[in-house]
Symmetry: C2
Subunit: 368 residues, 2 copies
């Protein structure tokens, strides 16, 4: 009978494996590759079976599942959001995910997605900003200098041409860490004493804060004509970053409207507040920025399609670089209708062969 | 700085690890332990944050995610259902799952759930039958003799006292396989030429068929007074096993009504067709079987709570038996706000130590 061991094998990409992939490609190339995969998948938005993510909320945070599929490939991501975790020495956001074959349900790749999510979120921000920010943008404000911030900074540097970043975080050590991490990148990094100071004169404003509160980090008074606001941190019910007045005066773009209405900064607006889904802009079916003076907002919450792209990118990169190892997640059955048989000890022939192998390793005298 | 490596460690239970656990405990004890965990969790049904599962359907089958949580523990299961898989040499149902800490989101256990699901489904059927079948039941009909069937047979043997099982499958080889697998268990196994023949005179009828069609495997003419019908195989939209007339004349019990209305055999009935959730019976809030002559149906579809119990049971058993291995699913960060730092090559001191270790393994002359 056919053995299913190769058919049901899952390839595992550990946290260290993804570090190895990113270091072999370089972070700039990883961000660029990830943005290309995301853009390509958004161009075929209509091919996907989409769900709003499923969250289990507690007083400490949230754990979410984000499934999506096209006709050939299924992916999901597990991701948590626990704002107090850093006090325990743990990351705020941790993630992993699986890519599976729609035709037979085999989970083909299990990958870490903590590091990968930071790269895909930054790449997604860049994909949106390429369509929405002024093409001559060179200065960005970066509010929130935590775990995701360096990835945002480098995505906008390499993919948008941002040269100067004005930094603010309520934790000055976070800003100091970012400056240490990015000191050799060629970016001009300017720590600021307040959000107002950081935002003043910026072409692009990126907010990537972690507190699970209805914050108003950006107020209408801070907004200047022509700004693009990349609002990344307001991404679940009760967690916002923009004053409603910022939204009402801007062109607002979202990933997947049903999910963003619940989770995005637009949770503060009425259900008929007009937004545009980004795929429409990327496919040329809707306008992005319509004037030099217009204020645009990308109300980013992170959508399953981006993780689909991210898992595809990591799978393809891992294959090309021969990184990763097999994981026995699914039993390899001699007969697929005989799951019970998998419980049996090795068949007699195999057991005999094993016993003989052991015997032949022992000194001859032991057999006498 | 504190290293998070132990805090974020995921314990991995492979398919072989779960085989080792079940063989160490014995299958009877595994079924009994699993039933105890399920029963205990059903007794605190109100503690759980419940969702209907999220499925991505295709022409080939379905891939589902089943999340659930109480105040301390979160679990989800990934499971597929692909009726044509056996023709490809693959199991119809494959599964894995994760148990995580609600307080911080860390995925603590990643386990195979293909084998585990077969055990938990059989244990759940037994938990329901203990509350619903006639206590003097000794004869069961088992319709569908595929991957799940031996587990159902043994659960009813060990937990309900079933002594004789009458078998039918459209594939005679499946029945022959079951008889080989269970020939030393003390069960009296009688292969039958038809469903009618298998069901005649049975105290309990278990249907565990795989075809994704609206089948009518059990018709009203087959049903005898006092029977308990354990309907396991009708578990997604368009996949049923019982003629509606069987349901309309029986007391029907379900796991989680919102899910079973969509997926169970009761998808054929109107939205006001009366059903009882099983937890109400187990908690003494509703009656189970009310008369010797009553026909009862457990319209089982498999609910996330049972996988929560199953993952708890496997985690606790693995700990006790010291089975499993750590998996680097989540990066261990020196500073949780410094994900970017995880990309850096090893610090100089560690790199030097590693280089020295390599050098000391080389012959002395190589250093000359």
């Amino acid at each position: 009978m056919k053995n299913t061991s190769t058919l049901v094998q899952t390839q595992f990409l550990s946290a260290q494996d993804v570090v190895a992939i990113v270091n072999r490609l370089g972070l700039a190339e990883s961000l660029r590759g990830m943005a290309d995969y995301i853009h390509a998948d958004y161009l075929r938005w209509q091919d996907f079976d989409k769900h709003a993510r499923v969250g289990n909320h507690s007083e400490f945070g949230v754990i979410e599942l984000m499934p999506i599929a096209d006709a050939r490939t299924y992916t999901f991501k597990y991701v948590n959001g626990h704002p107090f975790n850093t006090r325990l020495g743990l990351p705020t956001v941790m993630a992993f995910g699986v890519l599976a074959n729609v035709a037979n349900g085999v989970p083909q790749v299990l990958s870490e997605l903590t590091l990968t999510t930071a790269i895909r979120t930054a790449a997604m921000s860049a994909v949106a900003a390429r369509a929405l920010a002024r093409p001559d943008s060179t200065r960005m404000a970066l509010i929130g200098n935590g775990a995701q911030s360096e990835f945002q900074a480098l995505a906008f540097h390499h993919l948008l041409g941002i040269q100067e970043i004005r930094l603010f975080d309520i934790d000055p050590q976070a800003t100091a860490k970012l400056m240490r991490n990015l000191c050799h990148t060629g970016l001009r990094l300017l720590p600021c004493a307040s959000v107002v100071e950081a935002v003043r004169g910026a072409d692009i404003v990126t907010t990537v804060t972690a507190d699970k509160i209805n914050a108003t980090i950006i107020t209408p008074a801070m907004v200047e004509p022509g700004m693009h606001i990349n609002a990344v941190g307001g991404d679940c019910p009760g967690k916002t970053e923009l004053h409603p007045g910022v939204l009402s005066q801007a062109g607002v773009f979202v990933e997947y409207e049903p999910q963003t209405r619940i989770e995005g900064d637009i949770q503060q607006m009425g259900p008929d507040f007009a937004v545009t889904e980004l795929w429409q802009v990327l496919q040329g079916q809707a306008a992005g920025r319509t004037a030099q003076e217009q204020v645009t907002v990308f109300d980013s919450v992170g959508f399953a399609l981006e993780d689909f792209s991210a898992l595809r990118f990591m799978r393809d990169s891992a294959r090309r670089l021969d990184i990763g190892q097999p994981l026995a997640l699914i039993p390899a059955l001699a007969n697929p209708k005989d799951l019970f048989g998998f419980l049996r000890p090795l068949p007699q022939a195999a057991a005999r062969a094993q016993a003989e192998a052991q015997r032949s390793n022992q000194p001859e005298t032991a057999l006498a």
